[in-house]
């Protein structure tokens, strides 16, 4: 069986984490989603610290902006500052449509910015499109050890 790509989804709202999983239930790509609910957890996961010592580096990070402890901007900055993490594409997935949030994310090196749609169908299609594009269409760097 083909193993899919690994996605780390960072969002403080379990309902959104759940919706994203639901969106990919029927996907044939077997994408594996790991979820964490705050910025510190996200960095621990990516740096493989603490309980994430055995975590495998994800191929893609889906990142919300409003996170407790360490917000999305800080997580994005940290990822893009580390040579061993900076190649991982980061998709910002946020309900903010403020120009300044969007611009700041691109300034900090976000790979794309997707607004969270309010409607289920649109939400599903956003998540599926992210998967389709980043896990199917683009060529990603190989995760080297």
């Amino acid at each position: 069986m083909k193993t899919g790509l690994r996605v780390l989804h960072v969002d403080d709202n379990p309902a959104d984490l759940g919706l994203a999983r639901e969106a990919l239930v029927e996907s044939a790509r077997h994408t594996e989603i790991a979820s964490v609910e705050d910025g510190m957890e996200a960095m621990a996961y990516l740096d493989r610290r603490g309980k994430y010592v055995n975590a495998i580096r994800p191929d893609l990070v889906i990142l919300d902006l409003s996170l407790p402890k360490q917000d999305g901007h800080a997580v994005l900055t940290a990822i893009k500052a580390q040579p061993e993490l900076r190649r991982i594409p980061v998709v910002i997935f946020s309900s903010s449509q403020l120009g300044k949030d969007i611009e700041r994310c691109y300034d900090l090196g976000a790979n794309c910015y997707v607004g969270k749609p309010g409607n289920l169908k649109d939400f599903f299609s956003a998540v599926k499109s992210i998967e389709e594009f980043w896990c199917g269409f683009v060529s990603l760097p190989r995760q080297g050890e």
Binding site: A15, D16, S95, K116, G118, N119, L120, K121
Partner: protein, 394 residues
């Protein structure tokens, strides 16, 4: 007479008196006494200090601020009119009356022009009490008026602040409501999809209602946010060519125009002082409404503008279903709808937004019935300030 001033008083009087603290600028002790007596005879209990130079005058002003200053015009070392300069530089609003020997009419008028309240000749001191009374009354009224103006300014400021607070509240509330509502909407939809047909007929229906309600509320909140954004937009305004705005709007509405076979005509439109995006919102709402609320005939819409006094007066007329006169006011209120949602979709936010925008730039908007069918929406916008049309600075 010392330069520190001399005290004159009438406290020994037995007659009930109006207390009055006066500062006399006078070098002649006898004249000073006559002045005090003239006031005393007319019912003033005068406590008077007498000075004759600037230093003493200033000192006395600060230590014993008087209610009135009575100054001789000609002093050996000082000019009576200099008193006014000192009063001004001390920031004091104390009436000053010249009490003088012969004073030509021209001089007298000049003194009053410079700020003296009035003048009284020394051989006509009988007139002094009335002059003093009037000066005090006027000062009192001036004070009241000033206080009223200050109160009014304070009220206006409070109102503006409370409006800003309310707007901020509406914005934050609707913004923060969006997130949880998004969850409700998404999960009721998911529930509906996953469990369709498994919860019985009622189950599907109930979930459908909940899901529709949540989605409608999402639209309402988005509309509220759009409405509150009108006032939040940080745009001082600029010169906006309405012809260009109309071109944009017609492009946006192109498919609606084609579908409804609408005919939109327009006259030459002026430049106005406003925000370009917001003007586009106004025209788009009005023309969009004219198309949406059409009658059986294809819509015929005309957009015109004419100068009317200090304003441009715009009109957008149509041949649609019209608006009953009794509803002419209501339609500009947020979320007011005249027609069934099923017949004409929408939340009734468009005209409220138009009104907010037009009023933001100093105009007015209203609707006139065309009798049989159709309506004319009219709005005004002030003629742009000169620098907007002529100055167009580089």
């Amino acid at each position: 007479m010392s330069s520190a001033g001399t005290k004159l008083g009438t406290q020994d009087s037995a007659v009930p008196q109006t207390k009055l603290r006066a500062l006399l600028v006078e070098d002649n002790a006898l004249d000073a006494a006559l002045v005090v007596r003239a006031l005393f005879k007319d019912g003033f209990d005068v406590a008077a200090d007498v000075v004759q130079d600037e230093a003493a005058f200033t000192r006395m002003l600060r230590s014993h601020p008087p209610e009135i200053v009575l100054a001789d015009y000609n002093l050996p070392t000082w000019k009576g009119m200099e008193v006014l300069k000192v009063l001004r530089s001390e920031g004091l609003d104390i009436p000053m009356i010249l009490v003088s020997g012969a004073l030509g009419d021209v001089t007298a008028v000049e003194c009053i022009k410079q700020g003296a309240t009035d003048y009284v000749l020394k051989d006509g001191l009988a007139r002094l009490p009335e002059v003093v009374r009037r000066a005090l009354r006027e000062k009192h009224e001036r004070g009241l008026r000033l206080q009223a103006e200050r109160d009014l300014a304070k009220k206006a400021e409070e109102l503006a602040r409370s409006n800003a607070d309310l707007e901020q509240f509406a914005y934050v509330a609707s913004h923060d409501l969006q997130e949880p509502l998004r969850m409700v909407a998404a999960y009721t939809q998911l529930l509906g999809e996953r469990f369709r047909g498994k919860l019985g007929e009622d189950g599907d229906k109930f979930i459908g209602y909940a899901s529709e309600g949540a989605q409608r509320m999402q639209v309402l909140i988005q509309d509220l946010l759009a409405f509150s954004r009108v006032g939040r937009k940080e745009s001082a305004g600029g010169s906006v060519d309405c012809n260009l705005v109309m071109k944009e709007v017609l492009r946006t509405l192109e498919s609606a125009i084609q579908e409804s076979h609408a005919v939109v005509t327009q006259g030459d439109l002026p430049e106005v002082w406003a925000d370009r995006t917001q003007m586009a919102q106004v025209f788009q709402n009005l023309i969009g409404n004219a198309i949406k609320f059409r009658g059986k005939e294809p819509p015929v819409i005309s957009v015109q503008a004419e100068k009317n006094g200090q304003d441009w007066r715009f009109s957008v007329s149509d041949n649609g279903i019209g608006i009953p006169p009794e509803s002419a006011e209501n339609i500009f209120v947020v979320f007011q709808r005249l027609n069934a949602r099923s017949e004409y979709p929408g939340n009734g936010i468009g005209l409220a937004i138009c009104k907010k925008i037009i009023e933001r730039y100093g105009g007015r908007i209203w609707v006139e019935s065309k009798g049989g069918s159709g309506s004319i929406f009219k709005f005004t916008l002030p003629l742009p300030p000169l620098e907007a049309t002529d100055g167009k600075q580089a």
